[in-house]
């Protein structure tokens, strides 16, 4: 036991003294959470909007008022000509212009068909299209309201789209995915590299010539990474809860249980990789190709599993992160209980034992 602790302790020294690696391990989840949460989000706020209304009437002022009051828009006022609007847009002051047809209300009432044009500044295409979607929703809402109070049917030509809060939606999607990715990278790559480094630097030769058994040695090596992974898990959860405001709808205990099982699984995979390669660079390549890439592509982190071709869906069943991400989404976001995630938990536990078995079979007692 003393040997085991001494070994884990030594491994901590390696990590702590390698400042760059430590920075990467602890900084990575923070950067990724903030990157996916803010920089790559769909959140669009303070859309600078103006209205061009050649013939104001009850309908147009009603719609303009709603846009003015909407928290996502900053209402700049009315413009009095198309030229004024275009110039303002060119200067970048204006992002969205709502241009009503002449005699809007009349057209709506008599042929029952009024048109409104939404002009967006597409220098930021994402922001522009979101702005159009918001405005469309407001107009549609207004139209439905008018129909609701018993006016004769009419239609306003705009597209109708469903609207959620895009920021919240993208965070919901990404937080479980980032947890899956970060833990996979730290546990698998770091663990396999740290064992293979001992082979490459020759220290494995001295360790093998000592009475320390191989089993305790590899397990002792995983302790610091397990510890760091749990710190990372806590950082990710705190960041998503307080900064991204993603709630934990289900049981926190269940969420932690699922995460710990996943950490054990990825550590086992790191150990498996380490028994198969002899060079650090190969450990990185094998881990990256077999662990990181599938997490990005096949786990449902970015591309939903349901919309994949059948073959890829089948392939994704062997990707540990797929089960983890699915379970975390169920517990964290949908607020489901253990009943709904037992399958994922079982699959991950099975995978862990399978990989540990391979590792124990492959661990060498000698140099070759």
């Amino acid at each position: 036991m003393k040997q085991f602790i001494a070994f884990a302790n030594k491994e901590f020294y390696h990590i702590i003294r390698d400042n760059r690696t430590l920075l990467v391990i602890l900084g990575m989840p923070v950067v990724q959470i903030l990157l996916f949460g803010f920089a790559i989000n769909m959140e669009v706020e303070d859309i600078r909007v103006a209205v061009y209304d050649p013939t104001p009437d009850a309908f147009t002022t009603g719609i303009a008022e709603r846009i003015r009051q909407n928290p996502y828009f900053t209402y700049l006022g009315n413009v009095h000509s198309m030229n004024e609007m275009e110039e303002s847009m060119r200067k970048g002051e204006l992002e969205l212009a709502v241009v009503f047809q002449q005699n809007f209300q009349e057209n709506a009432v008599h042929p029952g068909d009024a048109a409104v044009q939404l002009l967006s500044n597409s220098s930021d295409p994402n922001r522009g299209s979101i702005a159009v979607t918001y405005a469309t929703a407001i107009i549609t809402g207004y139209q439905q309201e008018q129909l609701g109070i018993g006016r004769i049917p009419f239609q306003i030509r705009t597209e109708n789209r469903m609207i959620y809060n895009p920021l919240m939606k993208s965070s919901y999607m990404f937080v479980p995915g980032i947890m899956g990715l970060v833990l996979m990278i730290i546990c698998t790559i770091m663990t396999s590299v740290s064992i293979v480094r001992e082979k490459e630097r020759g220290t494995m030769e001295v360790l093998l010539a000592s009475p320390l058994k191989q089993g305790p040695m590899v397990f002792a090596k995983t302790i610091p990474y397990m510890f760091i992974s749990i710190i990372n898990l806590i950082i990710i959860l705190l960041l998503s809860y307080f900064v991204l405001e993603v709630p934990v709808n289900g049981s926190l205990l269940l969420l932690l249980l699922i995460s710990v099982i996943y950490i054990l699984l990825t550590l086992s995979y790191g150990l498996t990789v380490s028994t198969l390669v002899d060079k650090q660079i190969n450990a990185v390549i094998v881990s990256a190709i077999t662990a990181m890439l599938p997490v990005l592509m096949l786990s449902g982190m970015i591309f939903p599993v349901d919309s994949m071709p059948r073959v890829l869906q089948a392939l994704s069943t062997v990707v540990p992160a797929r089960w983890f991400i699915a379970a975390v989404r169920k517990v964290m976001i949908e607020g489901q209980g253990f009943i709904m995630v037992w399958k994922e938990v079982l699959v991950m536990t099975g995978m862990t034992f399978f990989l540990l078995g391979i590792t124990i079979m492959n661990t060498k007692k000698r140099l070759e």
Binding site: A6, K10, Y13, R201, G202, T203, V206, L208, R366, L367
Partner: protein, 299 residues
């Protein structure tokens, strides 16, 4: 006591490279046994088998009664092994390395401090320094301390003095002498022939075989050639010229001189004239005392 019996080991797909070709020898308690040979002779393979790190193709290595192949756990408790390459943790300090290895062998620095005192005292002032920042000589002292900290019965040192400065090399051998007095069996390999005289017995190794096993004195006494040394300027051209002299059997560079073995009819004056004709003046030709290196070259 170490008993090695007909060890064979080959590498490569069809066993094409023979690293060891039926090696047998014994080493007694309190003996320094040196394995001397050039790079690629198979010294490291032999030592790794004895340290239970490699399995031999055939043959046995019995280390104080324990088979290195079958009884490897026991063997690993009684040996101290120092590989050819510096194999400590460069990012750990001197003290942390030593503590780590002590714990690995279920002991502590305090318990066996007397054993490493002579060696460790020299690096103790730097005990907070990272091992990677030590000089070559200090690294070797630390590595030896780590290999000794658990009071091994057998010490296996694979080329411990390669890349170490001459002063540290001398100190290192002095330390081995003191360890021997404590009853530790010391097995050491080296490519430096001049270190052979520091061993109690030596084996000359070439291409996976022991070509001679004896005391250094015994090896030298068995030398049957007539040996002369030749010293002068333009040494490389001189070597070529010597090889053209009919009575010279072999000639090779030996430090800042050349050593030649000659026929019985050899007359040094005749050689001096021969060399003078070729433009080599101030050449000193003297009878030389054979060394282990000369013996090795003659085999």
């Amino acid at each position: 006591m170490i008993e090695v019996n007909k060890l064979c080991k080959s590498y490569g797909k069809q066993g094409k490279i023979n690293a060891l070709n039926g090696i047998s020898f014994t080493v007694d308690e309190g003996e320094i046994f040196g394995v001397i040979g050039p790079v690629g002779a198979g010294k490291s393979s032999l030592f790794r088998i004895m340290a239970s790190l490699l399995l031999p193709d055939s043959g046995t290595a019995i280390m104080n009664g324990h088979d290195a192949a079958k009884d490897y756990r026991k063997v690993r408790q009684i040996i101290g092994y120092m590989p050819e390459r510096f194999s400590l943790y460069q990012d750990l300090s001197v003290e942390e390395n030593l503590t780590f290895f002590a714990t690995l062998f279920n002991t502590s620095i305090e318990e066996n401090y007397h054993l490493i005192k002579d060696i460790y005292q020299q690096i103790e002032p730097f005990k907070k320094r990272r091992a990677g920042a030590l000089s070559g000589g200090m690294k070797q002292k630390l590595a030896l301390s780590c290999a000794l900290i658990h009071k091994p019965e057998i010490l296996i040192l694979d080329e411990p003095t390669t890349g170490v400065d001459p002063v540290s090399r001398k100190e290192f051998w002095d330390m081995l002498g003191r360890l021997k007095e404590q009853g530790i069996i010391i097995l050491v390999s080296t490519a430096y022939m001049d270190e052979a005289s520091r061993c109690d017995r030596i084996a000359l190794m070439r291409e996976g075989e022991f070509i001679a096993t004896d005391t250094p004195r015994g090896i030298i006494e068995n030398y049957r050639e007539i040996l002369w040394s030749v010293e002068g300027t333009r040494m490389s051209a001189l070597l070529t010229a010597l090889r053209g002299y009919p009575e010279v059997k072999t000639s090779f560079a030996f430090g800042d001189k050349h050593h030649i073995t000659v026929d019985e009819s050899f007359q040094p004056d005749a050689l001096r004239h021969f060399l003078a004709d070729k433009g080599f003046h101030d050449v000193r030709v003297e009878l030389a005392e054979p060394t282990v290196e000369d013996c090795f070259m003659a085999m």
